[in-house]
C-alpha cells in the first residue's frame, strides 16, 4: 500500500497488455513520479503533447490583442467593438469547456482535444480575411472555443498521473499552456514586423501573420492524435471493445457532476483566479499604454510578462498543493488555495492604486504569481472531487473560469463607467469575496478548512457512492476503488503511519 513516496512498480495482468513503463506507476498504472525532461511513453509523452497543443490554442485566442492598433484602423473598429470581441473571445469557451468535460469522459481526452483544436483552426485561418467589426467578433468568438482544450489537458494529466504528483502535472501543463497568452504578445508583433519588412503593406502583413498560430494549432493537434494515448493502458475505443473499460452513460456522469456542490464552489473560485488572468490578458497592454504613456511595443512587453510568469507560477501552485498534501493532506491543499488566492486579491486592489510605472510593474508581476499559483492550487483539488465525473467537474471548473472573465469584463471593463484603475481595484475586492466559499468545501474522509474529517468516513465510501448497487455488482466502479486507495495520502501525515487497508482485498497489491 501507499507509503511516503516509495514507488511501487508493478504491472496488473490484464487482457489488454502486460506492458512495461519507464516511470514507476501505481495500481491504476498512473505514474507516481514526474520526470519533466523525459518523453517516455505514455505518461510524459502525453504531458508534452497536451501542454504544447494547449499553448498553441492560447496563442491563437490572444493573437489579436497585440495587433489591435493595426486591426482597429483596418476594420474601423470602435472601443465598444473591441470590448465586445474581447468578451466574445472568452465566452465561447464557457460552454465548450462543459462539453469538453463530457467528451473526455465519453471518448477520451486525445480525440476530444484534437477534434476541438482542428475544428477551431479554420477560425484562425479565416481571421486573415475579415473586413468588419462583426466578422472580427465572430472569429474571436470561435477561436476562443479552443480554450476548452484546457479541460482535456487536466483530464489527461489526471488520468496519467497519480495523486501524489497530479498537482504538479496539472500545474505545469496548465501553466505552460497559459504561457501562450503571454508568448503571443511577443510572437505576433515579431511575425508582423518580419512580414512587413519583407515588403507587405501593414494592412496585409497582419493578416498573413495569423497563419502562424493557425498552423501551430493544426500541427499540434495532429501530433496529439498520432502520438498520444488516452490511458496508460491504451486508448478508450480499444479498451472498451476489449471489455477493459466500461462505457459510461452521459446522464449518470452529468448527474453526479452537477449534484456535487464542491464542483460549483471551485467553479466560482476559479472564475476569480483564472477569470481574472484572462481579463488581464485582454486589458493590461492598453492599461499601461494609456495610463503611463509608454509606446505600444513596451506595453506589449509588459503585457507579455504577466502571461510569461506562468512558466513557474502555475506549476509552483501545483507543487505547493502537492507539498501541502504530503504534510497536511487535503486540508493542506485547501488552505494553500485559500491563502494564495486571498493574497492575489489584495495585490489586485493595490495594483489599481499604483500611480508610478515601476511600482505598478512590480505589483503586477507579484499579482501574476499569486493569481496564477491559485489556478494551479485549484487543480490540485479538482481531481479529488469526483472520480466518475472527473471530466465534467474539470469542465465545470474550467467553464467557471471563463464565466468569471466574462462577468468581470462586463461589469468593470465595458464602456466608461469605471476608469481602468478603479476597475482593477474593484476586481480585487470581488476576488476576495468570491474566495470565501472555499471555507465551505468539506470532504467527509479528509476534512475541510476549519473542520476535521468524520471518524468513520473513508475515501472508498466517498467515491463508491457515485455508483449504484447494481453498477457496483458489475464491477464498473473498480477504477474508483483503486483511485480511493491511491488517495490515502490525502489524509495527511497522521494517516500515513497507520496503513489504511481497504475492506475488500483487491488482488493488485503485493
Amino acid at each position: 500500500m501507499e507509503d511516503s513516496g516509495k514507488p511501487s512498480l508493478h504491472v496488473e495482468s490484464s487482457a489488454a497488455e502486460g506492458s512495461h513503463f519507464k516511470l514507476p506507476v501505481d495500481s491504476e498504472q498512473k505514474a507516481t513520479e514526474f520526470w519533466l525532461f523525459s518523453f517516455a511513453k505514455p505518461h510524459m509523452r502525453a504531458f508534452h503533447l497536451s501542454w504544447f497543443s494547449f499553448f498553441c490554442c492560447f496563442v491563437s485566442t490572444f493573437a489579436a490583442p497585440p495587433l489591435l492598433p493595426l486591426i482597429r484602423d483596418n476594420l474601423n473598429l470602435t472601443t465598444t467593438d473591441i470590448g465586445n470581441a474581447g468578451i466574445a473571445s472568452v465566452s465561447g469557451a464557457v460552454f465548450a469547456r462543459l462539453a469538453m468535460g463530457t467528451a473526455c469522459d465519453l471518448i477520451g481526452p486525445r480525440l476530444a482535444s484534437a477534434s476541438l483544436t482542428l475544428l477551431t483552426a479554420p477560425a484562425v485561418y479565416f481571421t486573415s480575411v475579415i473586413n468588419s467589426a462583426s466578422s472580427y467578433l465572430l472569429v474571436r468568438f470561435f477561436t476562443g472555443f479552443s480554450l476548452a482544450s484546457f479541460v482535456s489537458t487536466q483530464f489527461w494529466m489526471s488520468s496519467m498521473f497519480s495523486p501524489p504528483v497530479v498537482g504538479v502535472a496539472n500545474g505545469i501543463a496548465g501553466g505552460w499552456g497559459n504561457l501562450g497568452g503571454g508568448a503571443t504578445q511577443l510572437i505576433m508583433p515579431l511575425v508582423y514586423d518580419l512580414i512587413h519588412h519583407i515588403g507587405s503593406t501593414n494592412f496585409t502583413a497582419w493578416r498573413i501573420a495569423f497563419f502562424i498560430p493557425g498552423f501551430m494549432q493544426t500541427i499540434s493537434a495532429i501530433a496529439v492524435i498520432a502520438l498520444g494515448q488516452d490511458l496508460p493502458n491504451g486508448n478508450y475505443r480499444k479498451l472498451e471493445k476489449a471489455g477493459d473499460k466500461h462505457k459510461d452513460s452521459f446522464r449518470k456522469v452529468f448527474y453526479h457532476a452537477v449534484t456535487n456542490y464542491r464542483g460549483w464552489i471551485l467553479a466560482l473560485t476559479y472564475g476569480y483566479c483564472f477569470g481574472v488572468e484572462l481579463t488581464i490578458d485582454n486589458i493590461v497592454a492598453e492599461y499601461f499604454y494609456d495610463k503611463f504613456n509608454v509606446n505600444l511595443r513596451t506595453a506589449g512587453i509588459i503585457a507579455a510578462s504577466f502571461g510569461l510568469a506562468n512558466i513557474i507560477s502555475r506549476p509552483g501552485g501545483g507543487l505547493l498543493s502537492d507539498w501541502m498534501s504530503r504534510r497536511y493532506g487535503m486540508r493542506g491543499r485547501l488552505w494553500g488555495l485559500w491563502v494564495v488566492q486571498i493574497v492575489g486579491g489584495v495585490l489586485c486592489i493595490v495594483l489599481g492604486r499604483m500611480n508610478n510605472l515601476s511600482a505598478s510593474i512590480i505589483v503586477m508581476v507579484l499579482f501574476s504569481f499569486f493569481v496564477q499559483a491559485a489556478c494551479g492550487l485549484t487543480f490540485g483539488v479538482v481531481p479529488f472531487v469526483s472520480r466518475r465525473s472527473l471530466g465534467m467537474i474539470s469542465g465545470m471548473t474550467g467553464g467557471g473560469g471563463n464565466v468569471g472573465a466574462v462577468i468581470t469584463q462586463l461589469i468593470f471593463f465595458k464602456g466608461s463607467k469605471y476608469s481602468k484603475e478603479t476597475g482593477i481595484t474593484l476586481m480585487g475586492v470581488m476576488i476576495l469575496c468570491c474566495t470565501l466559499p472555499i471555507t465551505l468545501i468539506y470532504f467527509p474522509q479528509w476534512g475541510g478548512l476549519f473542520c476535521g474529517p468524520r471518524p468513520k468516513a473513508t475515501a472508498e465510501d466517498y467515491y463508491a457512492a457515485e455508483w449504484s448497487e447494481d453498477e457496483k455488482e458489475r464491477g464498473y466502479h473498480s477504477a474508483s476503488v483503486k483511485f480511493a486507495e491511491n488517495s490515502v495520502r490525502e489524509g495527511g501525515r497522521r494517516r500515513d503511519s497507520s496503513p489504511a487497508v481497504p475492506a475488500d482485498d483487491t488482488p493488485s497489491h503485493a
Binding site: P69, R72, D73, N74, N76, L77, T78, T79, T80, L111, A114, S115, L118, L119, A121, P122, Y125, F126, S128, V129, N131, T201, N202, F203, T204, W206, R207, I208, F211, G214, F215, Q217, T218, A221, I222, I225, A226, N235, R237, K238, E240, K241, D290, N293
Partner: protein, 204 residues
C-alpha cells in the same frame, strides 16, 4: 559696487528661468495657446471620398499677416498632417484630442514637413497606410526646437466644415482567402482521416 553685484545676483536667477523657458521641451505646449495664423486649404471638396494609394490631393497654406500673435521670427518649419474629424474619434480613445500637444492623438499621419515660407503647397498621393475615416488637414508651424508655435487648419474651430473621407485599403487578397480555405480543409480532413483510422483499429 556692492549694489551692482547684488543687482546681478538678483537678475541671474531670472535670466536662468527665462533661458529654461526657451530651452525646456518639458514645458507642455497647449493647443489652446497657439495662434491660428496660417490659412490652410485642402483640395478635396467637402464630403469627397479619396481612395488610399490611388487618389491625389493638394494642400496649400499661407500665413495671414494681418492676424495678431504672429511672431514670424520664430517660425522655422511647417508640418502638415491629416487629422481625424470628431466623427472618426467617437468611441475611439486612441484618437483622442488632448489640449496638451504631447498627448494629443488627433493628427497621426504626416503629409509633409517643409522649411518655413510665407506660403507653400504640396501635392500628395494618399498613402496606403491611411485608414478609412473622415479627415481634415492641419498645419503646425514649428520653431527651432520642433515645438509648435502656431497652426492653421482647413476646417472651422468645431471641426464640422470642409471634411473629406478617405477609404483605406482592405489589405485582403484573394490568395489569402484561398490559402485560408486550403489550410482549413486540410485540418478538417486530417481529423476525419484519424477518426476513420481509429474506428478501423478498434474493429481489429
Amino acid at each position: 559696487m556692492a549694489a551692482l553685484l547684488s543687482c546681478q545676483v538678483r537678475v541671474l536667477p531670472l535670466l536662468l528661468l527665462l533661458l529654461l523657458c526657451y530651452l525646456g521641451p518639458s514645458a507642455a505646449v497647449l493647443f489652446s495657446s497657439l495662434p491660428k495664423t496660417i490659412i490652410v486649404t485642402a483640395s478635396p471638396s467637402p464630403g469627397q471620398v479619396l481612395y488610399a494609394g490611388v487618389d491625389q490631393m493638394n494642400v496649400t497654406w499661407a500665413i495671414n499677416q494681418s492676424l495678431p500673435g504672429a511672431t514670424v521670427s520664430a517660425y522655422k518649419k511647417v508640418k502638415v498632417s491629416f487629422c481625424y474629424a470628431p466623427a472618426s474619434q467617437a468611441d475611439r480613445g486612441w484618437r483622442k484630442t488632448d489640449d496638451n500637444l504631447k498627448k494629443d492623438k488627433t493628427c497621426q499621419f504626416k503629409i509633409t514637413t517643409q522649411p518655413y515660407a510665407t506660403a507653400g503647397s504640396v501635392a500628395y498621393t494618399v498613402e496606403r497606410s491611411i485608414p478609412t475615416a473622415t479627415f481634415f488637414v492641419r498645419a503646425y508651424v514649428l520653431d527651432s526646437e520642433d515645438a509648435e508655435v502656431a497652426y492653421g487648419q482647413s476646417t472651422n474651430a468645431q471641426k464640422t466644415t470642409n471634411l473629406f473621407d478617405v477609404v483605406g485599403i482592405t489589405g485582403r487578397h484573394s490568395s489569402l482567402g484561398i490559402a485560408a480555405a486550403c489550410f482549413s480543409a486540410f485540418s478538417v480532413v486530417a481529423l476525419a482521416f484519424f477518426f476513420v483510422v481509429e474506428k478501423r483499429k478498434a474493429k481489429k
